[in-house]
Amino acid sequence: MAIRVKDLVVAIAGKNLLDNISFETGINESVAIMGESGAGKTLLALSLLGLFPHNASVGGEINIFGKNILNLTKRELTFVRGKEIALVFQEPSAALNPLMSVYKQIAEPLLIHRLARAKEAKEKAIFYLGQVGINDYEKKAFLFPHQLSGGEKQRVLIAQALITEPKLLITDEPTAALDPILKLQIIDLLTNMTKKIGASLFVVTHELPVAKLLCSKMGILRNGRICEFGPLDSLLASPADDYTKSLLTNNLF
């Protein structure tokens, strides 16, 4: 079992942002969570890492590879984050440190988790930069984020997340605001890399094609509740919920 979420409730000021969320996913399974903006998709993704808003009250259980994330101490969480569970953020330009060169940022998780010494980490970072398909990567490793294009920054984030070979990769809108060619490349990259490392994938997206291409299971989130969860094919073939139906009829993007 990779992820097991049971009765998860996240509330701020008495309002349930996530309401009784329960689902299970197997190891090496890829899951997509879809929903409108404001449905709580990003919050759910961050919850899996134990990253809650500071004034939130949390109930329920989040089990990831047998560890209950909610019971871990801060120090234990640090060991899990980045090493076992990695996160790719929505906006690469906001997630990267503008003052740090690219290879240093990619190597950072290795150094924090003491998986490698500085020199080794640098070599590995440059190697991973090549793995995610950046051409001329040996030069680009020494550039700063503002000197890279949007697609490259997205790749840098993916390299940074994958360098510790995590068991679970969480991506929050990995392809939003990219053009179709780049979108397809990033999707290919994610499928190949997770296969290579043997990681499970958790994708938050609002684009149906992305979910179809990446994942085998899908959950639909609406107003903080999971209204449907199951294998992607059967869910799309016979949608039970109205929102899923409207999603399929409005399949424009």
Binding site: K140, L148, S149, A177, D179, P180, I181, L184, L252, F253
Partner: protein, 304 residues
């Protein structure tokens, strides 16, 4: 007699007559190397312009060391044309839109609006064409949140383009009417941008662009900041009510789905050059340039 001689020698000023907008041999260069991407996408260094024109010496230096954003753009837009500008990010699409509105100076080339040359930069004040163009153009930007004044309510924001042309009461009435047309009824008229959702704000932005009765509408990645449900709504709104009103439309996008819905002509921009231009069904069914082919294939793969 004289006219025939002028014609024979090719001295006649070739005036585009019926076209809304004509762009001839446009080149845009950022004078200093501006790092848009580290890939070295843009050819830098000295190059030969294909415009067949002498370049003034004071431009020569910047041309040699600059970063070419757009080169050799030729476009013409007839009345009723709905043109899609499609291309990768940082290919110069938005720059072209800004140039048309006179928000960016150009390096080489000419732009005609309804047969009159638009002058930019220091010559701006001598010619009324740019003013006319701006008066008759509506602009919709990508991010509705950052395109509204947070201290103005919706009616005032939407009525703003009419300031100085009509008195305030009639301007506000027109604004209310348009807000109603885009599906924001009187409840929303007094609300402020932070109280509305992204989709609602984009509707208001459309209303604002339409309020002066524009002859040309420029939509720059209008749908990118919205989620799919909202996109469908806005697109439906556009096709149902709005599209009949302006004479021409320039629609900038990087995905093809909306373009197929809205436009009848397409120009594919790659690295600052128009690589393909023509009727939309023709270009998309028989792409000639490798980039267009790649784009069409990626679009097909994403729309399974």
């Amino acid at each position: 007699m004289l006219a025939a001689l002028v014609k024979e020698c090719g001295l006649e000023r070739q005036m585009p007559s019926g076209n809304m907008l004509d762009i001839r041999n446009l080149v845009k260069i950022y004078p200093r190397r501006r790092s848009l991407s580290a890939e070295g996408d843009f050819p830098t260094g000295s190059f030969v312009l294909q415009t067949g024109k002498d370049i003034p010496f004071w431009k020569n230096r910047s041309l040699k060391s600059g970063n070419i954003v757009l080169s050799g753009i030729n476009l013409s837009l007839d009345k009723g044309d709905r043109l899609a500008l499609v291309g990768a990010s940082a290919s110069g699409k938005s720059t072209l839109a800004k140039i048309i509105l006179g928000l960016e100076p150009i390096s080489v080339g000419e732009i005609f609006y309804r047969g009159e040359k638009i002058c930019y930069g220091h010559k701006k004040s001598k010619n009324g064409a740019l003013k006319k163009l701006r008066e008759e153009t509506g602009l919709i930007l990508q991010d509705p949140r950052s395109s509204f004044d947070p201290r103005m309510d919706m009616v005032s924001s939407v009525a703003e383009p009419l300031w100085g042309r009509q008195n305030i009461e009639t301007a506000k009435e027109a604004a209310e009417e348009l807000l109603d047309l885009v599906g924001l009824d009187s409840r929303y008229c007094k609300s402020y941008p932070h109280q509305l959702s992204g989709g609602q704000l984009q509707r208001a932005a459309i209303a604002r662009a339409m309020v002066s009765g524009p002859k040309l509408l420029i939509a720059d990645e209008m749908l990118s900041a919205l989620d799919p449900g909202r996109r469908k709504e806005i697109l439906d709104l556009f096709t149902d009510t709005i599209i009949k009103r302006p004479d021409s439309l320039i629609f900038i996008a990087h995905d093809l789905t909306a373009v197929k819905y809205l436009c009848n002509k397409i120009a594919v921009i790659n690295h600052g050059e128009i690589v393909e231009y023509g009727d939309i069904s023709l270009v998309l069914s028989k792409p000639q340039h490798p980039y267009t082919l790649q784009l069409v294939q990626a679009d097909a793969a994403l729309n399974i």
